[in-house]
């Protein structure tokens, strides 16, 4: 289904010129990009396999300007795609041909730090890591730490409900924010949530978090800060078999321990990252497990002893405990740089984000190995083992014809596998454009219809990041995966969209 604004009656180039002119009345002239040359670098986000030239790019630096842009677009039925650092891996900030890219990158100031309340008010373009850096002197930090935390921005984190290496214990973005200011599709500035721990009415903070820019434009975020753990220690264990490593994860949790982080890398990932960080990873291991325990020193000591026992019972081949903070950081640095480091062994990769129940870890990994052989594509596995959040990276070469298509087919198979074992197609990267077809497998027509109704509650004209995250029923029908729900195929409902 096309967006309401998709049919301009005039040629695209003249629309582009007109819209750019109009927007130059709202923001500084150089903050509106409209020549093809300048638009090109905005044609994709962190998922460069999907590209589309936007109508124009606008870079406001004040909230009132965002409101003005929204009002203008609302009045003229022009879609808006909000963009932060453009590090997303699901194509959430992929432009729309007839839509404006609204970059929030200039909103990069920390507005207020309230140490006593343990909160910070930040603009959406503040980098995730910059928040923790800004409060480090107070011995506080912002807990969610996606691997791209050096570059990704908090606005994008909220839009995607980003997770990270430590969310088994400390939660996702949704658990670590208190309040949002959003600009609605028609340009209103609305406060969602509050400075208290809860707010009256529906939990709008939850529905906004992870809504992938479809419900509102985030212009300010109040985050919770946590006291830095007094002590954090990381154990690195090698296994000669990936399934053994998978089982070790379940065993640690069964022992009543919730590690601060519990991560796994397979051999290919170990080799690629070791090349960049020289962290001392065991390059011979079939898999390594990084298990971080944090808290007060006495507690951590107790936990380390327990984990050592569990790891021994699970059959590790080597074990190393980081001796100091520098080494701890080093152990993690490889994990955090794992995705791009794969760029060293392959020109392109395709990242998957399925989450599965932990008990299925071993079997799913084995199945992925089989599929990898079947499709003749290498797969590197890096993942948040504690959460069951897999990140298989399919390696391909965009310059080889048909490679990307084959990769997408393999990715679809892996995601289907995740759903079959009771999991989900995306744990933290979002659906965006990339997994939109798999949404048809995970949800039936009634559920998708309900999602669309939620969208319309916020954005009746469907101008905010339209056609992302939730597929239309038409699209699902074309994808051929429409579920027959309780014996009824709800095609008559298509008319409603």
């Amino acid at each position: 289904m096309s967006t309401p604004a998709s049919q301009f009656k005039e040629p695209l180039e003249s629309v582009r010129a007109r819209v750019a002119d109009d927007l130059r009345a709202v923001v500084a002239a150089e903050s509106v990009l409209s020549d093809i040359e300048s638009l090109r670098p905005y044609e994709c986000d962190g998922l460069s396999a999907y590209r589309k030239l936007p109508l124009v790019v606008v870079l406001p630096d004040r909230i009132e300007q965002v409101q003005e842009v929204a009002r203008y677009c609302f009045k003229n039925d022009i879609p808006i795609v909000a963009r932060g650092a453009g590090t997303g891996l699901s194509g959430g900030a992929l432009p729309i041909e007839n839509g404006v890219i609204l970059s929030l990158a200039k909103f990069n100031r920390v507005l207020k730090i309230d140490a006593q309340n343990r909160t910070a008010v930040v603009q959406p373009g503040v980098r995730n890591l910059a928040i923790s850096e800004a409060v480090a002197h107070l011995d506080l930090y912002y807990a969610p730490d996606p691997s791209s935390q050096i570059a990704c921005t908090i606005g994008g984190n909220v839009a995607e409900n980003a997770g990270g290496l430590h969310c088994l214990k400390y939660g996702l973005t949704v658990h670590n924010i208190l309040k949002l200011k959003i600009v609605t599709v028609d340009g209103d500035l609305v406060t969602i949530g509050s400075d208290a721990l809860d707010s009256p009415g529906y939990d709008l903070l939850s529905i906004l978090t992870g809504s992938e820019g479809l419900l509102g434009i985030i212009v300010e975020v109040t985050v919770k800060l946590l006291p830095k753990p007094e002590c954090a220690r990381v154990i690195m264990a090698s296994f000669d078999d990936i399934e053994k490593a998978g089982n070790a994860v379940g065993n640690i949790i069964a022992a009543g321990i919730i590690p601060g982080g519990l991560e796994m890398m397979d051999n290919a990932a170990i080799r690629a990252t070791e090349d960049f960080v020289h962290a001392g990873y065991d390059v011979e291991a079939a898999a390594i497990l990084l298990c971080e325990l944090d808290g007060i020193p006495d507690e951590v000591e107790d936990d380390i002893e327990s984990v050592k026992v569990v790891l021994a019972q699970s059959g590790y081949t080597q074990m190393q405990i980081a001796e100091n903070e520098a080494q701890r950081q080093l152990f993690w640095s490889g994990r955090k740089a794992a995705f791009p480091a794969v760029g060293r062994i392959s020109p392109d990769y395709y990242c998957i984000d399925g989450t599965i129940p932990r008990r299925a870890l071993g079997s799913v990994l084995n199945k992925i190995t089989e599929l990898s052989k079947e499709y003749g594509l290498r797969v590197v596995n890096v993942f948040h083992a504690g959460d069951g959040n897999l990140h298989p990276l399919i390696l391909y070469d965009g310059n080889v014809e048909g490679d990307l298509e084959k990769t997408e087919l393999l990715a679809a198979r892996i995601l289907q596998l995740c759903i079959e074992v009771g999991g989900t197609i995306t744990g933290e990267h979002g659906v965006g454009m990339e997994k939109i077809d798999q949404m048809c497998v995970q949800f039936d027509s009634l559920e998708l219809t309900q999602f669309h109704a939620v969208k319309e509650a916020f954005d009746e004209k469907r101008l905010l990041n339209p056609d992302k995250a939730v597929p239309t029923l038409h699209r699902c029908a074309e994808f051929g995966a429409m579920h027959v729900h309780k014996g009824q195929l709800k095609f008559p409902e298509i008319e409603r969209f």
Binding site: L33, D35, I36, E37, S38, R40, P41, Y42, C44, D45, G46, L47, S48, A49, V57, L59, D61, A85, G86, T87, S103, A105, K106, F107, N108, G125, R127, L129, E133, S148, I150, A151, C152, T273, F276, A337, F339, P340, A341, V342, G343, R344, P347, D348, Y349, G398, N399
Partner: protein, 401 residues
């Protein structure tokens, strides 16, 4: 990243190199986080990833216009992105290729061309820049504040020690440094003298970086060949190392081998010179420093030049040397960001440059130091113009006893 280079460059050596660099980029965007211009301007086009994209589009055959040139010009070439990049993208090299192609296709305005030519005509030549600066220094008192800021006060150099030692090293004089801060190399000579090393100076010239960064490649090669010829007899005589006291020049010297790789007459010699090149910090960190007894009373803020940390990848070395000698170093936030000097950048992009300088001086001053130490003449004179405390080369702190 998928690439499809245009015919005009596809089958050239540069094309092949650019293609392999482009293909190593996975478009993750980590580089934007540590890019000084992106942090300042917030526009994808002013970050490494956007610039890679701009270059890619030109190499794939889209004729560039002014926008591409503007955003490539705005790059400081600090190479902070290379340090950050997990995929190992050699951005500096790609930018070199990109700037060259763009300049060939877009050209420059008369004024712009003239300014660049003027810089290239004066700065790299000691016998031109020196007298001009001296003249400025004489009239410094009468100058309007803007010009006064740009003209550093005259610095006296301590006498060069004349002791014979078995160990000998050669130092690069370069172009502007002897005029602005002649004390740096003499201080280096004094420190090495105490360590039992004789420092030789020759009649060399500009390392070539200035021309290279202003896209005058042949001119750069001329400077390089001249230095190679000047130094070669000493190298044959067995000097232990070629010492660089300006990290910006050091990066260039280490590139000599690469830049002359296609020149049969010079390739081997240039490679040898690159292999012998050491930043002064690399020399000191392997020597027994107990013989040095510097006055360590001052609290030091160390400004790590981009050429030192990103170009030469010598992060933390100077800090370790100073700490081991007993200096107390104050913490400097955002140490990875460029101060805005970046060779001729401060003259060609004054707005961005001065904002970066302001930010850098704030960061350096946050720990209330008595002195700011750096390792590159460009940063030194750039920061000096507005710093509230003295800015010196760190070797001068070590020499001061």
């Amino acid at each position: 990243m998928q690439t499809n280079l245009a015919d005009f460059i596809r089958h050239t050596a540069e094309g092949a190199e650019a293609d392999s660099i482009l293909r190593s980029c996975v478009h993750c965007g980590f580089c934007t986080a540590t890019c000084p211009t992106y942090q300042l301007l917030g526009d994808e086009l002013d970050g490494p990833r956007g610039r890679i994209y701009l270059i890619k589009q030109v190499l794939e055959g889209t004729p560039p216009a002014h926008a591409t040139q503007l955003h490539l010009d705005r790059c400081l070439t600090c190479r902070s992105c290379e340090t950050t990049c997990p995929s190992g993208v050699r951005f500096g090299r790609l930018l070199d290729i990109g700037r060259h192609v763009v300049e060939t296709q877009v050209g420059r305005t008369v004024v712009d061309r003239a300014l660049r030519k003027l810089l290239r005509t004066i700065l790299p030549y000691r016998n031109r820049f020196g007298p001009l600066l001296r003249c400025g220094q004489v009239f410094r008192g009468m100058m309007p504040p803007v010009l006064k800021k740009m003209t550093p006060p005259r610095v006296a150099a301590a006498p060069w020690p004349d002791n014979r030692h078995q160990r000998e090293m050669l130092v690069l004089n370069g172009c502007v440094q002897p005029a602005i801060a002649p004390n740096i190399n003499s201080d280096t000579a004094r420190v090495l003298d105490r360590l039992g090393i004789r420092l030789i100076t020759t009649n060399d010239g500009c390392c070539g970086a200035l021309s290279q960064h202003l896209n005058a490649r042949e001119e750069a090669l001329k400077f390089i060949r001249r230095n190679v010829d000047t130094w070669w007899p000493h190298i044959e005589a067995g000097v232990e190392a070629i010492v660089s006291t300006a990290s910006g020049c050091g990066v260039m010297l280490k590139d000599y081998g690469y830049l002359l790789r296609e020149d049969p007459g010079y390739a081997d010699k240039a490679a040898k010179i690159s292999a012998l090149t050491r930043d002064i910090s690399e020399i000191l960190e392997t020597e027994d420093l107990k013989k040095l007894r510097p006055n360590t009373k001052l609290r030091v803020a160390f400004q790590s030049p981009c050429s030192l940390q990103h170009g030469l990848r010598l992060t933390g070395r100077v800090e370790r040397i100073l700490t081991s000698l007993g200096f107390s170093l104050v913490a400097v936030p955002d140490a990875h960001l460029c101060c805005g000097s970046a060779g001729t950048y401060s003259i060609l992009n004054p707005t961005i440059s001065s904002q970066l300088k302001k930010n850098k001086l704030e960061a350096l001053g946050s720990g209330a130091p008595d002195v700011i130490a750096t390792a590159n003449i460009g940063c030194l004179s750039h920061l000096q113009s507005e710093a509230s405390v003295p800015v010196v080369h760190w070797i001068s702190l070590v020499a001061d006893s």
